[in-house]
């Protein structure tokens, strides 16, 4: 047994988190900043933070992840990190020549009280930021929220520090991507194109974290939302935020600053959430949904009809991040499956409320917890008490899956031991198809593995 010390008996813990279902803010900020073209993320803290975040993102994407650090030593920690950040800005523009440096803070710089707004202003006043270049920032203390909060904070920083209202509206709509994969962002853009809606998507990590092998390392890959696009978001007709935790804060901030009205929908994972996304986007843009999209939807529903017997009543445990878990849970319910245990380390009452609303209506007996005490150790204990047929979550789930001999689908962040997530989307109807294919694949492999010889089926 890999997790041999995990007992069945659940005891309340107030001090100790074991096997967390979350990580810290800065990595989310780093990921969001990579979705801006020509941007170098910068970690204002000790070297270890930057090194750990780059390593984790690299293991997840199998791609270069460029980011710099303020390399705090004890002196900087005592006297403040301003000198380190100013020196970093000099070095970065001279050596790596980005269009934008996106600075995020860490627990260290937040604890000593470094003010990124003030330091960025000083850098500008001191002439350290070349003409046409930018230093943007987001406060991302690791002791608040989770990696999802950090993503939301950086996206909000991007929206408010670039978005301006010229008073002349542009015929375009903003879509703010919640924390999703480059493949998902690419799919959102494709869907908008098929619908004929002119959008600015931000952030956008497609063509950044799924870059082709060309024999050259492009320090700033082709992808990412451009400065020109970002400057125009304040003039857009509307904003659609995909996810209330990771995307909505930026939409609210942009509405406040530039009066761009917004609406939030769930990340389009699964049938119902994608339906709502398509409805809202087509209505906002005043376009008719083309037959092509209806056919895509039809293909997903067709599979759901044809394979329903293999899905019905299957018990699922899942863990991950709020904006994915909500539509994923709904999709499992649409598939007639049974979400039995749900855990997310990301705290927040809004998420709790939304999930309980969904569960109360369709699966009131589901165990659900988020925030304090909601870790994978608890999930594992729940699974020991009420076993499941399927586990869905990030790579760390494989230890529980092996110990409990439960089929396992990798979904969420980080996925350190498989590829595919950066290339094949989970969003949209085609993403739904991919999810159903994956679920059926592991469930049917299990049936094949466990079937008695006389019950072994050729056709399924």
């Amino acid at each position: 047994m890999l997790l041999r010390h995990t007992s069945k008996e659940v005891k309340v813990r107030e001090g100790l988190t074991i096997n967390p279902a979350k990580t810290c803010q800065p990595i989310g900020a780093m990921y969001a900043a990579l979705g801006i073209h020509g941007c170098l993320p910068h970690s204002h803290g000790s070297q270890g933070c930057c090194s750990y975040h780059r390593s984790t993102l690299t293991r997840h994407y199998k791609e270069p992840v460029m980011a710099a650090t303020s390399s705090f030593t004890e002196g900087a920690s005592v006297f403040g990190g301003q000198a380190n950040l100013l020196s970093a800005i000099d070095t970065i523009f001279a050596v790596y020549d980005p269009d934008i440096i996106a600075v995020h803070s860490t627990c260290l710089s937040e604890t000593i009280g470094d003010d990124l707004q003030q330091i960025s202003k000083k850098a500008k006043d001191d002439g350290k930021i070349p003409e046409g270049k930018y230093v943007i920032y987001a406060s991302t203390p690791s002791f608040v929220g989770s990696h999802v909060t950090g993503y939301a904070n950086m996206v909000t920083g991007i929206a408010t520090q670039f978005g301006v209202s010229t008073g002349v509206k542009k015929s375009q709509h903003n879509i703010i991507a919640g924390w999703m994969e480059p493949s998902d962002m690419r799919e959102i853009k494709r869907i908008a194109q098929v619908l004929g809606v002119n959008i600015v998507l931000f952030p956008d990590t497609s063509d950044v974290l799924d870059a082709p092998q060309s024999g050259k390392h492009l320090f700033y890959p082709k992808g990412g939302t451009t400065i020109a696009e970002l400057k125009s978001i304040g003039d857009s007709l509307s904003t659609l935020a995909l996810g209330s935790i990771s995307a909505e804060p930026a939409a609210i901030a942009l509405e406040k600053k530039c009066k761009v009205p917004f609406e939030t929908v769930d990340m389009p994972i699964g049938l119902s959430a994608t339906d709502r996304f398509i409805m809202v986007l087509s209505q906002r843009a005043g376009v008719k949904v083309p037959d092509e999209v209806t056919a895509e939807r039809g293909r997903l529903v067709d599979v759901m009809c044809d394979m329903e017997q293999y899905l019905h009543g299957k018990r699922v445990a899942l863990f991950g991040d709020p904006d994915q878990l909500l539509p994923l849970t709904e999709f499992l319910l649409d598939l007639n499956m049974k979400p039995v245990h749900i855990v997310s380390g990301t705290p927040g009452q809004q998420f709790d409320k939304q999930m309980r609303l969904l569960l109360n209506e369709r699966s009131p007996e589901t165990n659900f917890r988020n925030g304090t005490g909601a870790d994978m150790f608890l999930l594992h204990q729940w699974m020991k008490n009420e076993p499941v047929d399927l586990l869905i979550g990030n790579t760390y789930g494989k230890y529980m899956a092996r110990d409990e001999d439960v089929p396992f689908i990798r979904f969420g962040f980080p996925i350190l031991d498989r590829i595919g997530h950066s290339y094949f989307p989970n969003v949209g109807y085609s993403g739904g198809l991919r999810l159903v294919e994956k679920i059926l694949g592991v469930l049917m492999d299990r049936q094949d593995r466990d079937a008695l010889e006389e019950k072994f089926e050729l056709v399924m």
Partner: protein, 544 residues
């Protein structure tokens, strides 16, 4: 002479590497970029601060303490006191394999423990939550040991992890609880954390169990972390030759082994950088000499085994070592002879760690490959130039705040295993007793040595030298591969290994052969790109 053919003019290379830097940065970096001469060994600036904004390979003190040194011991509950990230990122990412005797023996390596500090803990202090966490870990698991690791904010808000640990240790009575002040901002790299870890392990673990260890030839393996099963291969060989491994620091180790380490008669050191403090402290307190060895490379393994036999001075052991080497050699030879024609003459670069960039040169030599440039991520001058430079190294502000334990001989347990005269005699026979000659002595003349290589410098080096393989870590892996050059990870081994001993050498030969000769590197360009994509072509079928 091979080297002269492939190495570009190194002084020009150095100029090119620093050209783009602001003047002050260029001046600083130029001292860390030197042209090697194994006879004179020039000075390398090392273990100094990285310039902010430079994209560095380095991590932090916490990573060196918890991640490297303490992480591999399976039966300690390692609680990280801080916000969630630090514990999360160090969770199972270092591939320290471990093997328990029974399926239910203590093993906490697959677990991640954190106090998950929240804003109120930062404002009002986190000691209460820490003690609560220690109590809960004790109640849940009843481990032999609980270690507490401080992250950046802990030192700043003044939480006393040592006092909290002492209090809980006294309260429990049957669980050793101890803390490490390894905040990420201490020192200039992981190296500070190694030192802090050495101090803590020495203070709180070594010497707690005086039961004499069994065996005739008893040693500790220091600075071996069982990445990819390296320690298993070394254990296999030791067992075969009849050497007793009392404890390992810290691959595949247990608390009780480390507590008993002072009963061994020799410490052999693999990773000098991360563990040399332990060697020195055990020598002073208990009289156990240490000796630098290298089990990376088949020839190096054979050499190291012979040195160990020489140290113990036992003819039977010497004969057994020779017999085992003779037994292992044919399978190594069979593989290298097959591979050698495909790897000979190729070039490698190694920028990694604090000893791996040295050790792995032995394997590349065995493959007939030349190391044209190398450097460490977090080493000190002695790892480059040899320990004779130690007295001359200035202790700067960043090193000063890392505690130097004052060690004196133990009044009861100090027992010099060898007399000074015997040690001198062994040194004359070529044994690196309490010494290390460093990396540069082994590298060719005019090869390049770069400390704390930056991202920018790595891309430049690849452009200039076009090496056949580049060795570094995960952050560099896909950057280098995007440039069409295979990168071998020497932290994680690309999830392969082991690479130590005889079996490990075979694994490495095969992996490098596979990597440098993989046809995929020739498939990067599409056929139409190779053909000029439309230029000068006439269409075969054109609609009118």
């Amino acid at each position: 002479m091979e080297a002269n053919r492939i190495i570009p003019d190194p002084s020009k290379v150095r100029e090119e590497l620093i050209q783009k830097y602001p003047a002050k940065v260029a001046k600083k970096r130029s001292k860390s970029i030197v042209i090697n001469d194994p006879d004179t060994i020039p000075e390398v600036q090392a273990n100094v601060r990285t310039v902010p904004g430079i994209i560095t390979q380095r991590g932090c003190s916490y990573a060196g303490c918890k991640g490297v040194v303490l992480g591999p011991t399976r039966d300690i509950v390692n609680i990280v006191h801080g916000p969630i990230g630090c514990s999360f990122y160090a969770w199972l990412t270092r591939r320290n394999q471990t093997r328990t005797e029974s399926l239910m023996d203590e093993n906490y390596i697959p677990y991640c423990f954190s106090t998950d500090m929240q804003e109120e803990n930062i404002v009002f202090g986190g000691e209460k939550k820490l003690k609560q966490a220690i109590q809960e870990a004790y109640d849940l698991f009843h481990p032999k040991s609980i270690a507490v690791f401080s992250t950046c904010p802990v030192g700043l808000i003044g939480d006393d992890v040592h006092a909290a640990s002492r209090e809980m240790k006294e309260k429990f009575g049957d669980c050793n609880v101890f803390g490490f002040s390894c905040e990420g901002y201490r020192g200039v790299s992981q190296s500070a954390g190694h030192h802090i870890a050495n101090n803590g392990v020495f203070k709180h673990m070594v010497g707690r169990n005086n039961t004499p260890s069994e065996g005739k030839f008893k040693l500790n393996l220091l600075g071996e972390y069982n990445i990819g099963g390296d320690a298993f291969e070394i254990e296999r060989i030791f067992e075969k030759v009849g050497i007793t491994l009392v404890s390992s620091f810290s691959g595949n180790s247990t608390v009780s082994q480390i507590e008993n380490a002072h009963t061994a008669d020799l410490n052999v050191i693999l990773c000098h950088r991360s563990i040399n403090y332990m060697g020195d402290m055990m020598e002073t307190k208990y009289g156990i000499p240490w000796m630098k060895v290298n089990f990376v490379g088949a020839e190096s393994t054979a050499k190291s085994l012979r040195k160990i036999a020489e140290y113990f001075g036992d003819e039977e052991l010497k004969a057994k070592v020779d017999a085992v080497i003779a037994e292992e050699a044919p399978k190594v030879k069979a593989v290298i002879e097959e591979i050698l024609p495909r790897t000979t003459g190729k070039t490698a670069m190694l920028f990694v760690g604090g000893s791996r960039a040295h050790h792995y040169q032995d394997l590349f030599n065995e493959l007939g490959m030349t190391t044209v440039a190398a450097g460490y991520e977090f080493a000190h001058r002695d790892d480059y130039e040899g320990r004779h430079v130690l007295p001359g190294i200035k202790v700067d502000a960043d090193s000063k705040n890392i505690e130097e334990l004052k060690i004196v001989p133990d009044p009861e347990l100090y027992n010099p295993r060898k007399s000074d005269a015997e040690l001198e005699e062994l040194r004359e026979k070529g044994l690196e007793i309490n010494g290390y000659e460093g990396m540069m002595k082994q590298m060719t003349k005019k090869s390049l040595v770069v400390d704390d290589l930056s991202h920018y410098e790595s891309e430049k080096l690849i452009e200039i030298y076009k090496p056949d393989i580049f060795c570094a870590g995960i952050k560099e892996k896909y950057v280098v591969q995007k440039m069409g050059i295979p990168l071998k990870q020497l932290h994680s081994y690309d999830y392969g290994g082991p690479y130590t001993g005889f079996e490990g050498a075979i694994n490495f030969y095969r992996d490098i052969d596979r990597m440098v000769n993989n046809p995929v590197w020739k498939m990067i360009k599409a056929p139409w790109e190779k053909a000029g994509n439309g230029k000068g072509l006439s269409a075969s079928y054109v609609t009118q």
